[in-house]
Symmetry: C2
Subunit: 419 residues, 2 copies
Amino acid sequence: MNKPPKIIIIGAGFGGISIAKSFINKKVAVLLIDENNYHNFQPLMYQIANGGLEPDSIAYPVRRIFRSNKNIYFRMAKVFNVAVSLKKINTSIGDFEYDYLVIATGSQTNFFNFEPVKEKLLTLKSIPDALNLRSYILQNLEKSLATQKLENQSQIMSIAIVGGGPAGIELAGALAEMRRYVLPKDFPELDLSNMYINLYEAAPKLLSVMSGEASAKSLEYLIALGVNVNLNAKVNTYDGTVLSLEDGTIYKTDTVIWTAGVKGAPIEGLAKEVIIGGNRISVNSYNQVLNTNNIFAIGDVASHISEQNPKGLPMLAPVAQQQGKRLAKNILNLINDVPMQPFVYKNNGSMATIGRKKAVVDLPNWKFQGTFAWLVWMFVHIMSLVGFKNKLIAFLDWMFNYFTYDKPLGLIIRPYKRK
Amino acid sequence: MNKPPKIIIIGAGFGGISIAKSFINKKVAVLLIDENNYHNFQPLMYQIANGGLEPDSIAYPVRRIFRSNKNIYFRMAKVFNVAVSLKKINTSIGDFEYDYLVIATGSQTNFFNFEPVKEKLLTLKSIPDALNLRSYILQNLEKSLATQKLENQSQIMSIAIVGGGPAGIELAGALAEMRRYVLPKDFPELDLSNMYINLYEAAPKLLSVMSGEASAKSLEYLIALGVNVNLNAKVNTYDGTVLSLEDGTIYKTDTVIWTAGVKGAPIEGLAKEVIIGGNRISVNSYNQVLNTNNIFAIGDVASHISEQNPKGLPMLAPVAQQQGKRLAKNILNLINDVPMQPFVYKNNGSMATIGRKKAVVDLPNWKFQGTFAWLVWMFVHIMSLVGFKNKLIAFLDWMFNYFTYDKPLGLIIRPYKRK
């Protein structure tokens, strides 16, 4: 009997998990590798930052997902590079050979012109990031209490968010709700009218990935929650204290959260010409990496340029998941000498939530906003969380939250020191 | 109208919270200070280490506890010292004057002869400690998978616990249950019979603070769970790899958890003669610090030597809580020129749990062990957790845990690097 073909998947995000699941009980040996030992539900990361959810509600161990599957192996390791000619990857725990390689390494923060000052910014890309942000905001509220001058208090407490995409507006809304419903009870001595939440977006509208209705309504919701939304506001630099815009405006704040962009996070060792716009890996319609036959890329890190999608598909979880499912079938086809089928993205719609009863939903043929949108959003996200236990606890957390406005506990477990 | 007397309480542990609560709505202005912004339920710390509970289940923000009480103020700060003659304390956020000072700073780990190598040990005194321990154990299991030699695997996976008191046996039991019920499913590739859990206790019996029945039964439980219990085992040193005993025995392990003792954590600035055995502050029967009239100490950091208690009272939460309640009344008496009453400790019993259906309970007139003891233990601890939300979630976590043996998720959120 022949040994089953070895497939290595790098990355346990939405794409990596999706393709690995599709290989369960197939005649292949799958090695899934990630730096972390858990898969996390990135769309709810901002809920960790404001304390609405705890890490165990949005993260689930990869080993647990594939517990009963004998052909899926997991290793926690950092991948350094791929040696294409040797069909080998080099990692922090040694080398591994593959017959087929799937790169599902996702995206990383794109700091653009803020690259030189990135250490002074806070981000929301990982659970430790989100926990640091939570600690930092709470530490600053404590610090304000020990500060006499009102002007200084305001600088310490206020928060600037750069980027008006889904991550930025969801975070801005969550923080504004925290300021309105939670902080006055926990910090009665602070004058919270000095705590500003400022959102900066370079484009003339928010949420440009969604419909005009969703953009307009999310702006309305944020204004209602007291967020200062600055459109057409191009940020220039930040020195740790002063955030300056291109038009010369300056704003003093100790907290700048960067949600202004992401770029691909490809691995080292691929040919230069393979890395295209947005630092993504160029793939064909089968998600095959340019000029290779056994290396594939899916999700945020992959980009298939076509006439319909001159910039590639959007960097969204459903794209990665659908590509994972299709690619698993295609690799099995390849093994069995059956022609592969091109990937076709099915857009099921998108949504974002700004606060309680304040969400926007774009379905292919129906756009709606408000309480019902919020309920739909909540339902979809709870159902998407991995694992029964996670769903139950997250649901109870949220129910409790909804009825009492009492959730964000605000524990500073590990104080964060910004550079 | 006179200004109300200013009372400063240092420490938001069981003692500090208890006395602060007793001052609610009294004619005093209370400033409660702690390094952390939360109170934590220390007796369940080991449940954080094995992943049975998350931090938000055993920690609760101090501000939240006193949310609706106008005469209790909280500040998150580190106290550097007290200037007794000036009636002032110096902290990381400035100086504060007091009329009455209550020191409730608790205890710290006592490393005894291991002081020089303490950075190589893991401890269980704070939530970050417990989270580090959790990450470290899981990282080592991942590391074992990437290690070829069985001998090295065993050294990496195995765990030594020094100290057979409540903290040591509860942790040993929890880790042994994790090894038996959880790890075989998550790490089917690992031969877990090479993962040893060794407990070292210098005395001839475990749990010497409790009854003979409790000692004997806890030994029986640990052995049943596969823990290697070493009694009369005095540890000599640890070099990061080899743990050696005084009798010359050596044991190779990457993980040594130190639960062998605590000592008082007094603040600086008190007279030298006030610090007595166990690094505790000498107090009289009113918890008044020796040679002072407006400085008091309660809980682990305080020691009242008497004929009945030649070593002072045990360092236990109920002692601190009862002293806090009594001292609040005594300080009010002092303010109102009424004689103070001496503190009398009421021992309501003690308990420890080794695993599911395996607990030991000593009541003043009744000692029992086993399933009923475990249910009593569970009930008492759930009822003790601060805050309705915490109780509910902790209860659900535990119920789920009990029915499915499925809880400890094992998320390595922040990898820990031992020195």
